[in-house]
């Protein structure tokens, strides 16, 4: 609660919270908000010349090149983006926590091996690795989520590793151990709680990265496959018409930007609140 109160007091974080709340509500209530089905090619969805309709009139965001209601597609696209953002990033943070914690706690050969593997993953450009994976597997919502999780855990693992190494050296851990606490108890009750701020901050910042990566993969045609709408593939489907129907590209584009920006702003504010020593850092 204290954290939430502090968040609301910062204008930028408040802006982020409001945008995220709107996107979240839009995703949950999409079927009730939208007047049209996202997949319906409406009879009056195209002009007499067969061009998509600009925003306004009966269609809030206009229609796309197949005569579908763009507002409905964006609403349902919010579901796709948020599901991937939460699932992919949740898995990434969980893997990162596990690897970083084990490597930092075990140290020795096992810890070294884990960290060398993490270094190895750092040598891959995230997008290209995701592209390679997505191209090899048949893309679907869950595959895309897993691909993103597989490339995004690395950063978290490195930070958790550094923090765990510092924690393990502290006296209270030694005290616990001398009282007879086992490894499992020390990790779960004494180290994990100290890592929670990091997990929360990266859990938030990571959603921004994930939403952007999903949009990029979908834009390249190897993310979520049409007709299932995602913000990225809405742009993918209409990119060649961006001069004649700019709303098809720039409305979803602005929404992707606003969403990623909001999660970044909230994450940054959370870092300030949860870890005062990091204030104003990268």
């Amino acid at each position: 609660m204290r954290v939430l109160r502090e968040l609301v007091r910062r204008p930028s974080a408040l802006f982020g919270l409001i945008v995220v709340a709107i996107v979240l509500l839009a995703a949950i209530f999409a079927p009730w908000i939208a007047h049209f089905s996202p997949d319906d090619q409406l009879a009056d969805g195209l002009s007499l010349e067969g061009a998509p309709l600009p925003p306004g009139g009966g269609h809030f965001f206009g229609t796309d090149t197949l005569g579908r209601d763009l507002f409905a597609r964006v609403l349902f696209g919010a579901r796709t983006s948020l599901i991937i953002g939460l699932v992919a990033n949740g898995v990434a943070v969980a893997i990162g926590l596990l690897v970083g914690l084990l490597a930092g706690y075990l140290r020795g050969t096992a810890g070294n091996l884990l960290m060398r593997f993490t270094d190895l993953m750092m040598a891959f450009p995230a997008l290209l690795l995701a592209i390679a994976l997505a191209a090899l597997l048949k893309p679907s919502l869950w595959i895309v989520a897993m691909v993103i999780a597989l490339v995004n855990w690395v950063q978290v693992a490195r930070i958790v590793y550094t923090e765990t190494r510092g924690l393990v050296e502290r006296d209270f851990i030694l005290a616990e151990r001398s009282l007879g606490a086992g490894n499992g108890r020390i990790i779960v009750f004494h180290i994990l709680p100290h890592l929670m701020p990091t997990a929360i901050v990266w859990g938030t910042l990571g959603i921004a990265t994930t939403v952007l990566l999903e949009a990029t993969l979908s834009f390249l045609g190897i993310g979520v496959q049409p007709p299932q709408p995602s913000w990225g593939n809405i742009i993918f489907e209409s990119q060649s018409y961006f001069q004649d129907a700019p709303w098809l590209v720039f409305i979803p584009g602005a929404i992707i930007l606003a969403t990623a920006l909001s999660f970044n702003l909230i994450g940054d504010a959370l870092r300030d609140i949860l870890d005062p020593t990091q204030r104003g850092r990268l």
């Binding site: 891959f124 990029t216 390249l220 702003l265």
Partner: protein, 306 residues
């Protein structure tokens, strides 16, 4: 010092071996069977088996991996499924265009990032600082393909200042380079800012002020060189960001580099090309990290004396 650099060299070699192992596993252990992909849809099982034998896919995994690494060391990245040629020449032919784009992108990134980062650090906590930090957040939150399309819409389609796509003159480079640089500039500005804030706190900076140097001399002459070190150390991560960005930017602008090659390969599921570009990018990142290690002692005498 020499021992440190030697150790880094060995580490880099090991990382490259690991990179090769991962791409190998991706290539050969995932559902997509290369023999089926090469043979095409109308192939008989016999044809697939023949191709599998020809590629050595019927051999034990370890043998296949050794063979694969051996080939890589000879510069053999395999053959493209669709273009029926070696992958390496395809990549090499397109590398110069990508290097031009990256160089221009880095100029944009460093120019914007340094300028804004320094200004933000000097005006720390003030309105200018907050505005710049907000702007940098917008930069890192922007989907690159939307920025690319927006720049095209405004500056090429509407104003007609720059060509829509293609390659050749300096005017062709501007929009792709700006697209590529803006995202990085956001990170850069934040990094420069935090490094500069750290340095500006130091006693020697106060001494420089006290002996009457102008603010500009202190910031640029005394503080900036020391702030550059952590930024140089980021060059490997930076190259990684760039290699990822290159795919999107080249796809949108029709820039004939390796990013476009990868993008075309994606459409045709031409896995060897995708893997080849990934490998070359990983090599670039590892070399970038090595470069940072080797340059650091020249920038910072403290490292040299260790």
């Amino acid at each position: 010092m020499a021992a440190f650099l030697a150790r880094r060299l060995v580490q880099a070699a090991l990382i490259l071996l690991g990179v090769a192992a991962i791409t190998f596993l991706l290539l050969y252990c995932l559902p997509a069977d290369p023999a089926v992909l090469i043979a095409g849809r109308s192939a008989t099982p016999q044809m697939v088996a023949a191709i599998r034998h020809e590629l050595g896919l019927d051999q034990p995994l370890v043998m296949q991996f050794l063979h694969y690494v051996g080939n890589l060391l000879h510069g053999d990245l395999g053959r493209s499924y669709t273009q029926k040629t070696e992958v390496l020449p395809l990549i090499l032919a397109r590398l110069p265009a990508t290097l031009v784009l990256m160089a221009a992108g880095i100029v944009v990134e460093v120019a914007l990032g340094l300028t804004f980062g320094i200004i933000a650090a000097v005006r720390r906590g003030g309105f200018v600082d907050r505005a710049i930090m907000m702007l940098s957040f917008v930069g890192v939150s922007s989907p690159q393909f939307v920025v690319a399309l927006l720049l095209l819409y405004v500056f090429a389609a509407t104003l007609g200042w720059f060509p829509m796509s293609g390659f050749g003159t300096a005017r062709h480079v501007v929009l792709p380079a700006v697209t590529l640089g803006v995202l990085g500039a956001g990170w850069y500005a934040r990094m420069v800012r935090s490094a500069m804030i750290e340095v500006l706190r130091q006693d020697y900076v106060r001494t420089a002020h006290a002996k009457g140097l102008s603010g500009g001399r202190v910031v640029l002459g005394h503080a900036l060189p020391n702030a550059l070190l952590p930024i140089i150390a980021m060059v490997g991560i930076d190259i990684g960001q760039f290699m990822s960005g290159v795919v999107v930017v080249e796809a949108v602008y029709g820039w004939p580099g390796i990013g476009q090659l990868a993008w075309q390969a994606i459409q045709q599921v031409d896995v060897p090309i995708i893997m080849g570009v990934t490998l070359v990018s990983a090599l670039a990142i590892v070399l970038g990290n090595l470069l940072a290690d080797f340059v650091a002692p020249f920038v910072d005498p403290r490292i040299r004396s260790q």
